[in-house]
């Protein structure tokens, strides 16, 4: 640097920074910038209160790399968003939400879009700061009182003394020739760049204070405690009600809890008719229908069929052959090797069961079949049993079961064929 220092700089203890030329308007600035560049100066800049049209070409500024950075950030945003949504919702914590696929692209678009924008915008903002070397809280040019108008209504060219072709005398002439209304030399006092110590102090204090919450959280996460954690709103703990075992002045006996009225029967206690409610008699399954559903009417069988079609047919099939839609689809899927198809109700084992056992299977479930006592009341369960018997009969019928006139029709048709 000293190699290029002018005599003026050697006289003072201040460092020579460069030249500053003021121009009245934007066109003059553009022309001067072009002149300076053509004079072989590279380390120079122009300053204006607003972006001046055409200055980029005059100064030979190359297109900024910023759009590429922003594009990269956008792609990164998309990838981060998609991977995050896939991993959190489909892998690490799979949760069925209204039957939507765990990784549902349509539903993931909004968040993906927002993250693309967020990443890109942050990159554009911090990118422009980084490319411009901002923030920079000290600039030697700010020594110049005149330069303060660069952000208001004046136009400037500054030439850095570190430029290889810097020659103060020659450049001063050049700038004045290009229409500068004033040219001055800028020096920097060696101490001028110092930031006041009070700022440092304030900075240290702020940073230390800012560290307290994260440290506190880190400490709490690492340690255990035998006191309950902080619990600011106690609404749910302090509800205006009586505790079960507590005293109360409200009732004569001083107890919060009330005794049931005489004659109260606990729920479930009335079901002592084993035949009807459990299909058993002693240790044995019954082989007859309970008297409550006798005599069996056609309406009762049809009720059984209707209930059967709702609750049983999905697995056992409409005719009880074990070919319900659930089973068929489960068997068709390659990814359900563990599926055990339901029994055919016409298999010998089922047909030989006492009817109480069928009733019991419906009530309490059997093997992989769940219990249906919650969904189907006993009366309907018996109706289903009756319908199952009818199904078994129908699927194992012999010719002699038909009434004579029906049998005749059948034989006639066989003959024709």
């Amino acid at each position: 640097m000293t190699a290029h220092a002018t005599p003026a700089a050697e006289e003072s203890s201040e460092r020579l920074c460069g030249l500053l030329a003021e121009f009245a308007d934007a066109p003059a600035l553009v022309e001067a910038a072009r002149t300076v560049r053509e004079a072989g100066i590279r380390r120079f800049d122009s300053h204006s209160p607003f972006p001046v049209h055409g200055i980029d070409g005059a100064m030979g500024i190359r297109p900024t790399v910023l759009p590429w950075l922003v594009m990269g950030a956008g792609v990164a945003g998309a990838i981060v968003a998609l991977v995050m949504q896939w991993w959190t919702n489909a892998v690490d914590y799979p949760l069925n939400i209204s039957g939507k696929p765990l990784f549902s692209l349509p539903a993931n678009i909004p968040v993906t879009f927002e993250l693309i924008i967020l990443f890109s915008a942050l990159t554009a903002f911090f990118g422009v700061l980084a490319l411009n070397g901002l923030p920079r809280f000290h600039d030697p040019l700010s020594q110049s009182e005149r330069f303060r108008r660069a952000t208001a209504d004046r136009f400037f060219i500054s030439i850095d003394a570190r430029d290889a072709a810097f020659d103060a005398t020659r450049l001063r002439g050049l700038l004045e020739g290009a229409g500068a209304t004033a040219v001055e030399t800028v020096y920097e006092a060696p101490t001028a760049a110092q930031i006041p110590p009070v700022i440092y102090l304030a900075g240290i204090v702020v940073v230390s204070l800012a560290l307290i919450p994260p440290l506190w959280i880190a400490k709490d996460r690492r340690s255990t405690s035998d006191t309950p954690r902080m619990h600011p709103v106690r609404d749910m703990d302090d509800q205006p009600r009586f505790q079960p075992q507590a005293d109360t002045p409200l009732f004569a006996n001083g107890q919060t809890m009330r005794l049931p009225v005489p004659g109260t029967i606990a729920s479930g206690d009335l079901r002592d008719d084993d035949h009807f409610f459990r299909g058993t008699e002693g240790e044995q399954f019954v082989t007859t229908l309970p008297p409550q559903v006798q005599p069996v009417t056609l309406a009762f069988v049809q009720r059984g069929r209707e209930r059967y079609d709702v609750y049983c047919a999905p697995c056992h099939g409409l005719a009880g052959a074990g070919d319900g839609i659930t089973s068929v689809r489960a068997l068709a899927r390659p990814d359900s090797p563990g599926w055990v198809p339901p029994l055919s109700l016409h298999s010998l084992g089922v047909r030989e069961q006492p009817i109480g056992k069928i009733f019991n299977s419906i009530t309490n479930g059997i093997r992989t079949m769940p219990a249906y006592n919650a969904q189907i009341p006993p009366q309907d369960r018996w109706a289903i049993v009756v319908y199952v018997l009818a199904l078994q009969r129908s699927q194992n019928a012999v010719l002699d079961d038909l009434p004579p006139e029906e049998r005749e029709k059948l034989e006639l048709r066989d003959f024709r064929n």
């Binding site: 934007a26 066109p27 553009v30 800049d45 122009s46 300053h47 204006s48 209160p49 607003f50 972006p51 001046v52 049209h53 055409g54 200055i55 980029d56 100064m59 900024t64 910023l66 759009p67 922003v70 995050m84 959190t88 919702n89 914590y93 939400i97 549902s104 539903a107 993931n108 909004p110 968040v111 879009f113 927002e114 993250l115 924008i117 967020l118 890109s120 915008a121 942050l122 554009a124 903002f125 990118g127 422009v128 490319l131 411009n132 901002l134 923030p135 920079r136 809280f137 000290h138 600039d139 700010s142 330069f147 108008r149 660069a150 952000t151 208001a152 209504d153 600011p232 709103v233 609404d235």
Partner: protein
């Protein structure tokens, strides 16, 4: 400073966007003077006192709500969402004009934006803050709001990304961030101007800190202009996406009156509509009060009125197409809601206020007199915002009449509901008045580029 009429229309000629004898120096002086005055006039203090008092009421209501629970609101079953979401959508909607003016009009090279964009962007940010307040407190336990964020936690749970409410969290927080960055980036050169004009070291340091050392260097302007363009290009789809995502909160459900495919563009149009109305409400008094009539000219206001008219027609289109489709669908739930309950049900009066304020009254802007008379446009703009609040309320009340008559109910706001809504205006105006007092209310650097000689090389 009298306003010159620059609203004329001569094909082949462009009306000036800055009237009077403005040059770089006077613009700088006029705008900076507002932030540099030692003592603002008494009216500023009065307005500020009223705003802060209202803000205080809001604060008290929030403290009461948090310590008691959100049962203090009128929300109930079936109206699980009440004023909280109405106010949220209302404020987010208002927050759309700022970024729209900044970004979309920038891309369309509508240079009239330069005088009003700073004010509108500030308005956006404050409106989004008001908006964010309501969903934040409606979670009840606000200190657990960070559970909304996807972070690895000891509950081993993740948020559900298939929920539109989570999309909302991302959309609104992204919008708040990007709007703030856009606003701040645009303000850096103007903060530098204030720094360089500062008379006291404290002001110089304060503005200098936020000006980040800007010196108006051509190399910096080069990156800066591109960054600004990029942010505008990013903010434009963002504006559309935010209110679309807000509309998804409703439209992905099956509730009649909520689930209709036109919701996303219809919400966006409504948001722009209400946002521009708020710009008129703020800009007309501000330009008179701060002496900015030569920068925010009648032409600016007329253009805003035209945008309001266009968006009013879009909103009217959406109302009509909803009514038509409700009938056309022959879906009993849709027809009942749109043709029966909304216009003639318990909240029918709100529906008719909505239609009047949003579709009928803005038609006055077909007349040039209404587009150029300050008090008329302010009245219309305020009515538009009344109407837009009603719109959100009417939409929300679809909840009270869903599929099963057995689950029907009513929503009646409590005093706390109403106080919190009014209080949110306190927050908004407090911030806005502070902005007017300390920051450059007009984008000086940008206005300078639209001066007649600003762009001449």
């Amino acid at each position: 400073m009298t306003a010159v009429d620059n609203t004329f229309n001569l094909p082949g000629q462009r009306a000036p966007l800055v009237t009077g004898k403005a040059d770089y120096a006077t613009i700088t002086q006029d705008v900076c003077a507002i932030a540099e005055q030692h003592r603002p006039p008494r009216s500023w203090y009065i307005a500020f006192a009223v705003s802060v008092a209202t803000l205080g009421v809001l604060g008290a209501a929030i403290v009461y709500l948090i310590t008691t629970g959100i049962g203090v609101w009128g929300n109930n079953s079936p109206a699980f969402w009440g004023f909280d979401i109405v106010n949220f959508v209302f404020w987010v909607g208002i927050g759309h004009a700022g970024t729209l003016i900044s970004a979309i009009l920038f891309l369309f090279r509508q240079q009239w934006r330069t005088s009003i964009n700073r004010m509108a962007e500030a308005m956006t940010i404050f409106a989004v803050m008001c908006a964010g307040l309501f969903p934040a407190i409606h979670v009840g336990r606000v200190w657990l709001i960070y559970w909304l964020a996807p972070y690895p936690n000891w509950l081993a749970m993740w948020p559900n990304f298939r929920s539109p409410l989570l999309w909302d969290v991302f959309a609104v927080s992204t919008y708040a961030t990007v709007s703030a960055l856009f606003w701040y980036l645009g303000m850096i050169p103007d903060l530098a101007t204030l720094r360089d004009r500062a008379q006291t070291p404290i002001r110089r340091m304060a503005y200098g800190l936020f000006a980040l050392g800007w010196t108006g260097s051509a190399r910096a302007w080069h990156h800066y202009e591109r960054a600004y363009l990029l942010l505008a290009a990013l903010a434009t789809p963002l504006v559309l996406s935010v209110h679309s995502v807000v509309s998804f909160d409703f439209a992905v459900s099956q509730v009649p009156g909520w689930h209709t495919t036109v919701f996303p563009p219809y919400f966006v149009a409504g948001a722009i509509f209400s946002g521009f109305a708020m710009v008129i409400t703020l800009a007309v008094p501000a330009r008179a009060y701060f002496g900015l009539k030569h920068l925010i000219t009648p032409r600016h206001l007329e253009n805003i009125c035209k945008v309001i008219l266009v968006t009013s027609l879009m909103v009217g289109y959406a109302y009509s197409i909803e009514l038509f489709t409700a009938w056309y669908s022959q879906n009993p739930y849709e027809s009942f809601l749109f043709l029966g309950n909304r216009p003639f049900g318990p909240y029918g009066v709100f529906y008719w206020i909505m239609v009047t304020c949003n579709v009928v009254i803005p038609q006055l802007f077909w007349f040039k007199k209404c587009r150029t008379t300050a008090w008329i446009m302010v009245v219309i703009a305020i009515l538009v915002n009344v109407g837009m609040w009603m719109e959100r309320f009417v939409i929300m009340m679809s909840l009270t009449r869903d599929f099963l008559p057995s689950s029907w109910g009513l929503f009646i706001p409590t005093p706390i509901d109403i106080v919190m809504f009014i209080g949110s205006f306190g927050l908004f105006f407090t911030l806005f008045l502070l902005f007017c007092r300390y920051l450059p209310v007009v984008a000086m650097a940008e206005v300078k580029t639209v001066l007649p000689h600003g762009h001449q090389p």
